[in-house]
Symmetry: C2
Subunit: 754 residues, 2 copies
């Protein structure tokens, strides 16, 4: 038994105070937690309480000598720290106290502090020179339960589908000859469609379940099998089948939809041309209507006007071809036409030429190709005519008179695809994060001289910081994309403009996130991350193009920003004076926020972790960027600049606005979801993930917030510190969190994730 | 002829003023440029000058109505803007004036404004509603001359080598079966070595030229051929040959160096183990000295103790194996031993087992493998004994008594390799930037309604911003790595600690830069960037591991930071009081800078473009982060925390410090180089590139500078605007700049870069 001058009551508090002061843990609300705890601790004398209170003063903190004395007292106790205890620090403190003659008994007040301050073993186990019995991760949360919480809407279907993916044909393999990979993916596709998984989004009359949300969940899961399979699946059922479904009329559905869903008819979606990718309106392929024969003549006019990157081009027998429709010599604008490509023997039809696009960075299991048309005739009935048709007299008819509006309505069918692309990217980074976290929970490197075992990678602050905020963001984006798909599914017959703006921004933001996250994972796994066997390499290469296809991210962010600005404009114009007043009101309250010193410098953890702070900060950024972009454009135009040029002048501002809009939307939708959860541990966990994501997002834009005076430097630093703190607090739950992504074990084949 | 109320003298100034006010171009120094110009313009009346002066007042700018009038006046002139003129805006302005009855003659004052304000056609051609005769890029600078300026030290050798690379065997090909790729790379390696290119760094007595700088330049160029070739070349001649050269003694040189240089002896460098990568000191392979037989017994003790990722493992006949040396039962620490792997028939020798590491994300032309040793005996003479040997009595001898120092001295031989890795990464991103810039100079997408031709990608502000600052940084880093290699070459017999710190930071910073830059290039080229034929895919995958091998970036940044801190500590300790005073002086002057409002809010372009500002800002960051890291560690230690834990606590701070050190060093070395250039256009260009890199680097850390009060929000915004402005100013020279990277045309095989 050791000797000490501290009273028996104080002893168990000493390890707590040591942790607190070694780490500058204390914010005002945390001081309150500690104070409340010891004040209601009946084992303490009044003198003890006075001492404990005196040690809590941030303006007059305990001297270094005092803290060092605590450290020595702890070291000399030779108490063992057991991380697997429910309250490891409280138990440890009792042992320390016991060594100096204290009476060890559970102390609820200390447990209260431990819980409320979020003090985690990995947060302090380095601070003590004592034996530590490590527990790589906590079992407080159950990954399986998290998965169910996230996917409640499709849980049953998903369980069946995950089981289905145990079929040997879905087993992942390393060697990848391009041709072999394509054959395998084709075979996998056929198995999936033969079992009805391809037709999920189609009407019941054609073998489907009219459930695009389930379809999207299935698509997402295919990323765990192979990126090429997911993309080929998306081309066949989402793009080709989707174009028949959404741009065609009943005749087309009757002829093709069931065969498409069952995989008997393979199709491709020929929109992009070598010369025109982002600028779809500029495509050059023509479909000239010849009234005498009631045919459309499909033609590739120039050198760069061939279709390119067309998925399924080598396996498909039919294509939805986007063309400039010409009727009676007049260009009507972009339309889609079904064009047969091959006969029963899989030979190309006359006038059609298809080249392989060759080797790609990733997705080599997808047969992308280039397609040329040389005066190819198809019956006029092949025009997908939901939004525009040619009548028996050879006259063009459309219910949408405005050509511009018609174009965007047709392109609106791409929205579902964009949500899927973002979901696919996210599935890819979820898998990479899972593998990386599992590896970091067993890989050790370097140690203190006195230790035998080296430290786990995940216990390095830098490693926590590179992974855990990304896991939090992945949760937010998962919820957000589910909501987007739900809204999209319900928007079928409504004005799709709003969801288009939302999805354009979210697709760009989330695919970018995934690219960055997977890169981080590759590097965080070192050389092991570079080996194909560990899957990250493929995930990286396969998802890399997700930032480009179905809408280049830079273009989409501008599209999104323009949507925001046009809302802003119509808000301004809708009822003139009132909305200007509203705008002024907004500005005034913003200004209030920015000059209110209490807000600008509020650094308490209660405030920083509060979802209202995140919502406000992200919304403030959105509103301010909207307003300033609008004003800049207006000023340019006032000086006589044409509006195209004015928009070009503020291009980088618009891209920022697109990002800000997406981030504000994401956090709003996420917190909407969490608010509706049942109260309890899991809800709290989700709030903490939201806080980490929110603070990280704010942190990424810190310079902007500082420039705007939205917060000062003290708060800016506090945000940074809280991002690190929250990462540390969530570190024990990292295993449950990645298991919550719901990736079936049998698909997680990376040896380093074993 | 049109009519106008403006005087004849004012007319040619109007397009200039329109450009200036449409764009908020004016900083105080720029106002001076304009003022000086018109004041000395003899064609102007005093009234004209009064008007021109009144239009220059930032506090009372011309009304929008006035500016709009200018715009209409310009539009109605129907003057044609010809971008290929030497002074396009001045010539254009004369044409506008002529339309309204002006007398067109060259105006030197306007030329002065055009030159000094860096007004570029792409900067204003959008502002006018007139016909524009575009010139995709300017020929003001010559890429070939830039290349010579950069590589003056090896220009002759490089020209010969570039010609040499025209041999058909170096032709890049798409299909890449792993085995075929390895065979081809092996063959290429043998051709190179047969012609003496491998031995460049070795002593003349062994067929070399004792020129490691040339060697590094050659290595860099091999990246343009194939990343696998570069890496295999580096393993054979740099790592294996380098270990024989630097860790061995004359006996080893005589036996192996000539054969290594000529490629007759293929070797590998077996340091990393599955269980120990970054923590080299923890490797487990043993070499136990047996005195009776004068042999070392090489052994792999446990499951994860095999060597891994060893390049050349399948082709090599010998390996430099890093082991724990055990003499008379005592562990002496890490040493290197030459171990034969295979016999003349290329069969593995007894006790040696080698497995293929299999498919990797990139570099599949390199035969990486795992190696196990089962009690393999080699003569004691095989110990590379420059820093430690076993004498005839079986006693261990070393001139370096301190085991720690001995370890770091041996690892110091890795420094050259680290410079080469950074050079290779940079060569990779230079090639990607070249391809991307060339594509952006011909790819068009979207346009204004009134225009027939779509806009070039490079003319979009967002595209300029994603590429041009990276091109500028590439220039800075190229110069910096040349300097590092020069210093390293000259450090042969000196204390290498300083250059180690420098290279650790630079390797991490530059390989990270390259990874980010190549990713940006892939995305900036859209779908074309995803096709293997366009090379970016390979550059991306091949260089991806450069952030990991020869030292993981996260570990290296901490190594660098620790070097900085130990310098700081010895500076403090060296002569006690004086250095503390110096430190105080530093802090005081920093504080002065941060509170001097004139500096904090100085936004004039003369100041922002000045290299002294960049040097000061980056050095300020370095000094402040050094000081605060040191103080934080000291405070933790004062509270009784063991130093290992204290360092862990500030880990993310240390990583920032490592970055800050590297960036401050890079800009210093770059400006040192530029200062020594001959005066003239090219020197000015290099200063502008430095400014863009400097401002971009400051911009990346804006939030930190704002937090520190180093500058205020006005300056912060000005820095951002100047990054965009400089990118625009350099845009006409982008072709010359990427040609200045000196990549031979015959190696630039990407179709999109044609």
């Amino acid at each position: 038994m050791g000797t000490t001058t501290y009273s028996e009551g104080l002893l168990p508090y000493i390890p707590f105070y040591y942790v607190i002061w070694s780490d500058d843990l204390l914010s005002a609300s945390e001081v309150q937690v500690v104070k409340k705890a010891f004040e209601s601790d009946e084992s303490l004398s009044d003198d003890d309480k006075t001492v404990l209170e005196s040690w809590l003063d941030k303006d007059n903190p305990p001297k270094n000598g005092e803290i060092k004395k605590w450290q020595q007292l702890i070291t000399e106790s030779h108490a063992t720290l057991i991380e697997s205890e429910i309250y490891p620090l409280e138990i440890f403190s009792q042992k320390v106290a016991q060594y100096y003659g204290g009476d060890p008994k559970p102390n609820e007040q200390l447990q209260e502090i431990e819980r409320n301050l979020g003090i985690q073993p990995n947060h302090y186990n380095h601070l003590f020179n004592v034996e530590v019995v490590h527990q790589p991760f906590s079992n407080h949360y159950d990954g399986f339960k998290i998965d169910i919480l996230l996917n409640a809407r499709f849980e049953n279907e998903l369980q069946v589908f995950r089981k289905f993916l145990e079929w040997p044909i879905f087993k992942w393999e390393i060697p990848r000859d391009k041709e072999e990979a394509r054959s395998k993916v084709l075979e996998q596709l056929k198995v999936l469609s033969a079992h009805g998984w391809g037709a999920l989004a189609y009407p019941k009359a054609y073998g489907g379940k009219e459930n695009i949300e389930s379809y999207a969940s299935i698509f997402e899961h295919l990323m765990f099998v192979d990126g090429s399979l997911a993309v080929k699946f998306g081309v066949q059922f989402g793009l080709f089948g989707g174009s028949v479904h959404h741009l065609g009329s009943k005749r087309h559905h009757d002829l093709y939809l069931e065969d498409t869903g069952s995989g008997r008819l393979l199709g491709c979606f020929a929109m992009t041309e070598t010369g025109h990718g982002s600028n779809v309106r500029g495509i050059k392929t023509t479909a000239t209507y010849v009234h005498d024969d009631r045919v459309l003549v499909i033609h590739t006019p120039g050198k760069n006007d061939n279709k390119e990157y067309i998925g399924n081009a080598l396996h498909a027998t039919m294509a939805t071809v986007f063309v400039q429709l010409i009727v009676a010599g007049k260009a009507i604008g972009v339309h889609a036409v079904l064009v047969p490509l091959r006969n029963d023997k899989h030979e190309l039809l006359e006038g059609i030429h298809i080249d392989d696009n060759g080797h790609k960075l990733g997705l080599n299991g997808v047969d992308n190709g280039k397609i040329w048309f040389n005066q190819v005739k198809v019956p006029v009935e092949n025009l997908l005519d939901r939004y525009g048709s040619i009548d028996p007299n050879g006259k063009y008819r459309s219910e949408i008179k405005n050509a511009n509006k018609r174009f965007f309505t047709m392109l609106g069918t791409l929205v579902g695809g964009r949500i899927c692309v973002a979901k696919g990217a996210l599935a890819g980074s979820n898998m990479a994060l899972t593998i990386t976290a599992k590896y970091a929970l067993k890989r050790r490197q370097f140690n203190d001289n006195i230790k035998i075992q080296e430290d786990l990678l995940i216990d390095y602050p830098s490693h926590q910081l590179r992974l855990i905020p990304k896991v939090a963001s992945a949760y937010v984006y998962h919820i957000v994309l589910q909501r987007a798909m739900q809204d999209y599914a319900q928007s079928e017959h409504k004005d799709k403009r709003k969801i288009e703006t939302q999805v354009a921004g979210l697709k760009a933001t989330i695919t970018h996130f995934s690219t960055v996250a997977i890169q981080e994972c590759r590097e965080a796994c070192g050389g092991k991350g570079y080996l194909l066997e560990n899957r990250i390499a493929d995930l990286k290469n396969d998802t890399d193009i997700f930032t480009t296809f179905e809408g280049d991210n830079t273009v989409l962010l501008q599209l999104c920003a323009k949507g925001v600005l046009s809302d802003f404009k119509s808000e301004l114009n809708s009822d003139g004076f009132v909305s200007v007043l509203k705008l002024l009101g907004t500005r005034i309250s913003d200004r209030f926020a920015t000059i209110n010193p209490a807000y600008v410098s509020k650094v308490d953890s209660t405030h920083l972790y509060n979802h209202k702070f995140h919502l406000h900060a992200l919304d403030f950024r959105l509103r301010r960027l909207t307003y300033t972009a609008a004003m800049r454009i207006r000023n340019y135009i006032k000086k006589g600049m044409p509006s195209y040029q004015a928009f070009l002048k503020v291009q980088t501002h618009l891209i920022e606005l697109g990002r800000a809009y997406s981030e504000a939307l994401a956090i709003k939708w996420y917190y909407d979801f969490v608010a509706k959860m049942d109260d309890g541990d899991y809800k709290e966990l989700m709030y903490r993930l939201g806080a980490l994501h929110g603070l990280s997002t704010i942190r990424e834009n810190t310079s902007w917030y500082l420039e705007q005076g939205y917060f000062g430097s003290t708060k800016s630093k506090a945000v940074r510190q809280r991002v690190e703190r929250l990462s540390t607090e969530l570190r024990p739950h990292i295993n449950a969190l990645v298991e919550g992504f719901g990736i079936p074990d049998h698909l997680l084949t990376a040896p380093i994730a074993d």
